[in-house]
Symmetry: C2
Subunit: 155 residues, 2 copies
DNA sequence: ACTTATAAGTCTTGATTGTGAACTAAAAGA
DNA sequence: TCTTTTAGTTCACAATCAAGACTTATAAGT
């Protein structure tokens, strides 16, 4: 399977991975969440080849995950900021980070702590059910194919 | 940067991606969560090259994310099942699926629905704070480097 | 005994991608 | 004028990946 064809699969994970399921892309987004904004800053932070960085940034802009915002004129320069769609990736990225914290931390503990500004505490992310607010694990969930309708009552 | 060196970075996301940050690996895990267990079933479900499948399954077993369990003898055959460590990836994968549902659904809605067995409702995953149980978005969180300690009070 | 089927890989070969270094461009500063 | 800064682009080569044929081991059918 070519990666372009992945985006045409009828699976939300496949469509997601067609866009961000590449290691560099996720590391770029991690940096974006840590407020890295400029080409050179991404480059030196990630030690990524410039060609790959340019390509990935262009893709993320084309997908509406990052947007280019001018931060000076003469010469015109842009920085890359997360859009709302990009910010929506936060739960996924934080969950991946938490999994790494749990299973690959060295003896000195996780390298980054996250403080919830609303309550002031360092926290772990907990995935919960939108309907009953209880924590959800894999064993609590049953997946099934949606009925494919002609018309669209999408919320 | 070579991908092997990624696992040595002091970043939980980098270490996570060194293991599962490849598109096939995540699709294999999606299938595993949907109770696919056997080599041929993964192959026909994913249309993945057998060589790549064999390699990824071996890596996931080596990392303790899947385990080989015999399901028959003569000829001895194994199936691949998620370990606890593998099941821990569920929040990350469900978050990615949800992002795809939200941003790439066709007009007929998301292709798969998830029912929370405890409350019986179809649900969306919501990421919450372990300390105050409120929903968390990117804007609610401040990340900072942990103090690197000599000794290890890891929970 | 011989053929076919099943399951789980391995091998070969060609295509795709990533890499690091050098080059371009446009303006500012010495 | 010459150098620096920022954000790229281009190139030649290396590493990685993919498709499908081939292999191994066993059992069942004829």
């Amino acid at each position: 399977m070519r990666w372009q064809t992945l985006s045409r699969e009828n699976c939300s994970l496949a469509r997601t991975l067609a866009v961000i399921g590449d290691r560099w892309t996720l590391l770029i987004l991690r940096d974006a969440f840590l407020r890295v904004r400029r080409f050179e800053d991404f480059e030196s932070s990630l030690k990524i080849a410039r060609r790959v960085l340019a390509e990935r940034l262009a893709l993320l802009v084309a997908e509406g995950i990052l947007k280019k915002v001018p931060y000076q004129e003469r010469p015109l320069r842009y920085e890359y900021k997360l859009t709302e769609k990009g910010l929506d990736l936060y739960p996924a990225i934080l969950s991946l980070v938490h999994w790494g914290d749990k299973h690959y931390s060295t003896k000195s503990g996780p390298p980054v702590l996250h403080r919830h500004l609303a309550c002031g505490h360092d926290f772990r992310p907990v995935l919960t059910c939108s309907e009953c607010c209880a924590a959800v694990t894999a064993r609590d969930v049953e997946a099934r194919a949606a009925k494919q309708r002609r018309r669209a009552p999408v919320p």
